[in-house]
């Protein structure tokens, strides 16, 4: 059985330190969504963070919810699914410094160098969503929309949503404070077998760039 734990948010340094690769985590408290739209607005254009953000939440979810406004003025949150995080590397060091964020949640993790150079030195870790299609389970964990910022300007997918969550998960711990990565470890194990898979299969007559990276080569 994988270890399972529940974390109260905002997360404390002690709770972060206890997280081990491959543990299953559920969250209680407030998480906020931010991806390229928000990062560009704050870090590139220089706009201000919403007041109180850094006090109420230190968990950044790379996510676009299936949300629709309802008549009494709130929002109906259906499914909640993460988006692939590797695209956001370039923003992260500045973002973590500015917001004091300690947990990043997303799809598929980030390169192990980002964990070693950006997250771990700032006391932050990465949690990955599970299987990636767990939209209904995560949607269930959203108790309320506390606030939504820049909805008109950025649209549903890119706005900053503040979710109050309960038993929100499951997530798997992908990185720890030493900068280790579960995805990287698993990938190395898978890689050991890969070359053997091609044994005895002859190569196609016409090659492609990628099989050679020299654009001066012919492909036949």
């Amino acid at each position: 059985m994988l270890d399972e734990m529940s974390i109260e948010l905002p997360v404390t340094p002690e709770a972060i330190a206890k997280l081990e690769l491959g543990s299953v985590v559920y969250l209680n408290g407030i998480v906020y969504t931010a991806r390229e739209g928000v990062y560009d607005k704050i870090l590139v254009k220089g706009d201000q963070l919403p007041a109180g953000l850094t006090r109420s939440s230190n968990v950044n979810f790379h996510c676009s919810p299936a949300a629709a406004p309802v008549e009494n003025g709130g929002y109906h949150i259906g499914g909640v699914t993460a988006t692939a995080s590797f695209r956001f590397s370039k923003y992260l060091s500045e973002w973590l410094d500015l917001t004091n964020t300690k947990i990043i949640i997303g799809k598929g993790g980030m390169p192990v160098d980002d964990y070693k150079n950006i997250l771990a030195p700032r006391g932050a870790v990465y949690l990955t969503t599970v299987g990636y299609g767990t939209g209904a389970l995560l949607g269930r964990g959203v108790e309320a929309v506390e606030a939504v910022h820049w909805l008109d300007e950025l649209g549903i997918a890119q706005a900053m949503w503040m979710f109050r969550v309960k038993d929100f998960g499951p997530f798997l711990v992908d990185s720890d404070l030493q900068g280790n990565s579960l995805f990287a470890q698993q990938g190395e194990l898978v890689n050991k077998k890969i070359e053997g898979l091609y044994d005895g299969l002859k190569k196609p007559a016409l090659h492609r760039y990628g099989e050679t990276d020299d654009r001066k080569d012919e492909l036949m």
Binding site: M1, L2, G22, V24, C63, S64, P65, A66, A67, A68, H76, G78, G79, V80, T81, T83, A84, G108, G109, T128, V130, G131, Y132, G133, T134, G135, A136, L137, L138, G139, R140, G155, I156, A157, P170, L172, F183, Q186, G187, L189, V190, K193, I194, L197, Y198, L201, K202, K203, P204, A205, L206, R208
Partner: protein, 313 residues
């Protein structure tokens, strides 16, 4: 006579069902994959996905918040009578897409590729796609919707007859390994392989093989059926499970569809229909009654006909 409003209603209903309810064949397929999975992390992911399907059906919420690219496949019987014409059917399916986007809700995914503008309803230029086919001796219209992700897991390659089955196997491995790492193609998946046709039909056939045939279905050509099973073993022998973790769960099933192709070529495409394999079908009978199911029954003997005449003609 089938009224246009019935077509809209049926299209709306299958949009909802596809988004929320995992098809039984896929659910049973993933349970049998799970039984063979001996790795703890991979097993945990599959178990979590099964509870996600239950939560989605129980709460009537989408199983995945990424709507993918919702689209339709329509099969019209030769004897079907409908009052809105073919453009009426297309208009009804656009209206159903917009209504379902608001009501389920589905995440509005469709944006202009260059200007990134949108109508917040999953409707736009060439969206939703509608693919048409026909069926002799029938008075019904079958409408299938598929919500499939659009970013990872698909590739195309022109191979040549001399590359043989080895070439197909290598290309399958290349595609699954490149998109299987970290689970970008959201495996275990129903894998579709298109072989032959022109380049565009090759892509189409592979996509339809993944999305429009149910788990356990075999191609009626016994040689192709054997190749389906052989390629599925190769996929599950990579050593990679869900999320790219060590495991044996890459393919829930593997389907091949073929088209006669250029005498000098053997184009191949590979597609992966993800952990949230979203498809639903409505049959609108000649009397206007609607029956819902999850098997699209797209590849009929007529659809796979090999020459001027076909089986049953």
């Amino acid at each position: 006579m089938i009224s246009n409003s019935i077509i809209e209603q049926a299209s709306y209903e299958i949009m909802k069902q596809a988004a929320i309810d995992i098809p039984d064949d896929y659910l049973n397929g993933i349970k049998s994959v799970a039984e063979k999975e001996s790795e703890e992390l991979s097993g945990f992911v599959i178990k979590t996905m099964v509870s996600n399907y239950e939560a989605a059906s129980g709460d009537r919420r989408p199983m995945c918040a990424d709507t993918g690219l919702p689209r339709y496949y329509v099969k019209v019987g030769d004897k079907a009578k409908f009052d809105g014409g073919f453009t009426g059917i297309e208009r009804a399916m656009r209206s159903a897409t917009a209504r379902a986007t608001r009501d389920v809700p589905l995440r509005p995914n469709r944006v202009h590729p260059l200007w990134r503008t949108e109508h917040n309803n999953n409707v736009g230029i060439n969206s939703p796609e509608v693919e048409w086919s026909f069926e002799p001796d029938a008075d019904w219209i079958d409408i299938t919707t598929v919500h499939k992700g659009g970013l990872f897991g698909t590739d195309y390659r022109m191979l040549f007859p001399g590359d043989g089955v080895d070439g197909i196997k290598r290309f399958l491995l290349d595609t699954l390994i490149s998109f299987g790492k970290r689970g970008l193609c959201c495996q275990p998946a129903i894998i579709g392989v298109g072989i032959g046709g022109s380049k565009d039909t090759c892509m189409q056939l592979g996509k339809q093989a993944a999305c429009l045939r149910i788990v356990g279905d075999r191609n009626p050509d016994s040689g192709i059926a054997d190749l389906e099973l052989e390629l599925m073993d190769i996929a599950n022998g990579i050593g990679m499970g869900p999320m790219g973790f060590v495991g044996s769960s890459m393919a829930v099933d593997l389907h091949i569809e073929v088209g006669h192709t250029h005498t000098g070529g053997m184009p191949v495409s590979v597609h992966t229909f993800c952990l949230s394999s979203r498809r639903a079908t409505a049959r609108i009978n000649g009397d206007g009654s609607i029956e819902y199911r999850t098997d699209p029954r797209w590849f009929t003997p007529y659809h796979r006909r090999e020459t001027v005449q076909w089986e049953g003609a």
